[in-house]
């Protein structure tokens, strides 16, 4: 069953035509990785789904049209978003960052603290003073507090130390078993570990959809992503 469907989505920002007819689907309970070189429109796609950029075309979640819907309504319909640069609230404490994200009557603090026990001990610390990895934990935790039908996660391991990449990847792998997820990620090892489908974008368009097994093909990786598969 199709969960999220994008059909001929276009986004133009300050005269630049960023997304040029993006079409793809994210099936229910699957983890789909959105891949591509830098600047091809992956993050813009997530922002367009979230209503953070004005889009044309059609974006539906469980057959409900999202284009033209306000961001907070989109989130309340079950979509959760972890942005590329974490965008935690630096002047608020860890606890305040998490409280702000609470939507359900019984937020899942047990899940959050079991995945990231560090956040419990640092609950009174200002989020701006956390390390990059800890900030990413806060950003991911904000979406895990509530029951969501689809998670949009943008480069969760970007700029993290290898040890923290593993920690974040473990958390995502645990969550991925029970969630529908659209994941933008450059770290191919993580993609191979959690993704069940991959979508490759180039110049604002989808140029490939298929299984993650394609990422084992060195030539495919080099051609589609411009990198060596073995090094990621």
């Amino acid at each position: 069953m199709t969960h999220l469907a994008l059909n001929d989505v276009h986004v133009t920002i300050k005269g630049s035509h960023i997304l040029q007819g993006v079409t793809f689907e994210v099936p229910e309970n699957k983890v789909v990785a959105l891949l591509g070189r830098n600047g091809v429109g992956k993050s813009t796609t997530l922002k367009a789904i979230m209503g953070l950029y004005p889009a044309t075309g059609s974006i539906t979640l469980n057959n409900k049209e999202l284009v033209g819907t306000k961001t907070h309504h989109i989130v309340r319909s079950g979509l959760a978003y972890v942005p590329e640069d974490r965008e935690i609230f630096a002047s608020l404490t860890v606890k305040e960052n998490l409280s702000l994200a609470e939507r359900d009557k019984n937020p899942h603090y047990d899940l959050v603290y079991s995945l990231f026990p560090e956040l419990k001990t640092r609950s009174g610390q200002r989020a701006g003073t956390l390390s990059g990895g800890q900030q990413q934990m806060v950003a991911i935790s904000r979406v895990l507090l509530n029951k969501n039908s689809l998670l949009l996660i943008d480069e969760p391991t970007k700029g993290l130390a290898p040890k923290l990449v593993t920690e974040v990847a473990d958390a995502l792998a645990k969550v991925s078993g029970s969630s529908t997820m659209l994941l933008v990620e450059q770290n191919l090892a993580l993609v191979k570990r959690v993704a069940e489908h991959i979508i490759v974008m180039d110049q604002g368009k989808v140029v490939f959809t298929g299984g993650p097994e394609n990422l084992r093909n060195e030539e495919f990786v080099k051609k589609m992503l411009g990198v060596s598969g073995g090094s990621h």
């Binding site: 953070l52 989130v75 942005p83 609230f89 702000l100």
Partner: protein, 293 residues
């Protein structure tokens, strides 16, 4: 020493009034990025609501009646500010220059309407009789009304801090000042925070309007001009978006202005503009403001 006490206390009283004007301005700018030139008219509208309440319901000139009139002035101005936000600001969401321009328009139109309706004559606002008395500290006779201004400003400062620190809407406002888009991306209607901030800003300005009317001898449609300018100076010196910064800057400005005017009459305004220039050069984000990313 007596002169020092007199000037310091009257300066703090003046600073209290500046704070009441500035606290709404700083919150509105901090959250929405809007320079709200209509804020002065909130002060005027509040003073007229207070005058109406004092002449209609609270006529016996007691302290309680005065405070209730100030509260009516605050609520009236708060509702007026909310109306301005809903009717004028909302359609221009995220168009900051247009929003600033339209607030100038609101100030001019509403100011002209009030002038047409009430004329520009000063109207006496009933105040408690003890406002005319002075309390002796050492050999200094300090006007008692200054203590009322200080007390009201302190109560509002505490109220704002409590709202911002300990309530969910305060949490949303603080987060919205930092990153409005991300607040929406957490499923929160950030517009609700805008409306709350406009109401609170109008409330403080309205209460300030009633107190300013007592300070300068009455209510007139032209009363807000220099107060709004000082409100902006307080906001810039204190740091845009910082309530604590506004309180600190308002106190500094009130006291420094009084001292400057005591030693060289008329020097106060010049010294404050000089102080503004120095702060902008040394610490452009203001005393307690944050550096923009």
């Amino acid at each position: 020493m007596d002169t020092f006490i007199l000037i310091a206390v009257t300066g703090i009283g003046l600073g209290a009034l500046y704070f009441l004007v500035a606290c709404g301005l700083t919150l509105i700018y901090g959250l929405m990025g809007v320079l709200n030139f209509a804020h002065g008219i909130f002060l005027t509208v509040g003073a007229f609501f207070g005058l109406w309440a004092a002449n209609t319901f609270f006529k016996n000139g007691s302290t309680i009646d005065y405070l209730l009139s100030a509260l009516v002035g605050g609520i009236g101005a708060g509702l007026f500010a909310l109306l301005v936000e809903l009717l004028v600001m909302t359609p221009l969401y995220d168009r900051h220059i247009d929003q600033a321009l339209v607030t100038v328009g609101v100030a001019l139109v509403v100011g002209a309407m009030l002038s047409g309706w009430f004329t520009n004559d000063m109207r006496m606002l009933p105040s408690p009789a003890w406002f005319m008395d002075a309390v002796q500290v050492g050999n200094a006779n300090i006007p008692k009304d200054r203590f009322m201004y200080i007390a009201v400003a302190a109560v509002l400062l505490i109220l704002f801090i409590v709202i911002l620190r300990f309530t969910r809407i305060g949490l949303i406002i603080r987060a919205g000042v930092e990153n409005r888009q991300m607040v929406s991306a957490l499923g929160i209607n950030v517009r609700l925070a805008f409306s709350t901030v406009f109401f609170l800003g109008g409330l403080a300005a309205g209460i300030g309007g009633v107190l300013v009317a007592s300070y300068q001898g009455g209510v007139t449609p032209l009363m807000a001009g220099s107060w709004l300018i000082y409100g902006f100076i307080v906001v810039v010196i204190g740091g845009m978006g910082s309530i604590g910064g506004s309180a600190l800057a308002a106190l500094m400005i009130g006291v420094i202005k009084q001292f400057a005017n005591y030693y060289v009459p008329g020097l106060g305004d010049f010294v404050i503009v000089f102080l503004l220039a120095v702060v902008l050069l040394i610490r452009p984000q203001g005393l307690l403001g944050k550096v923009s990313a």
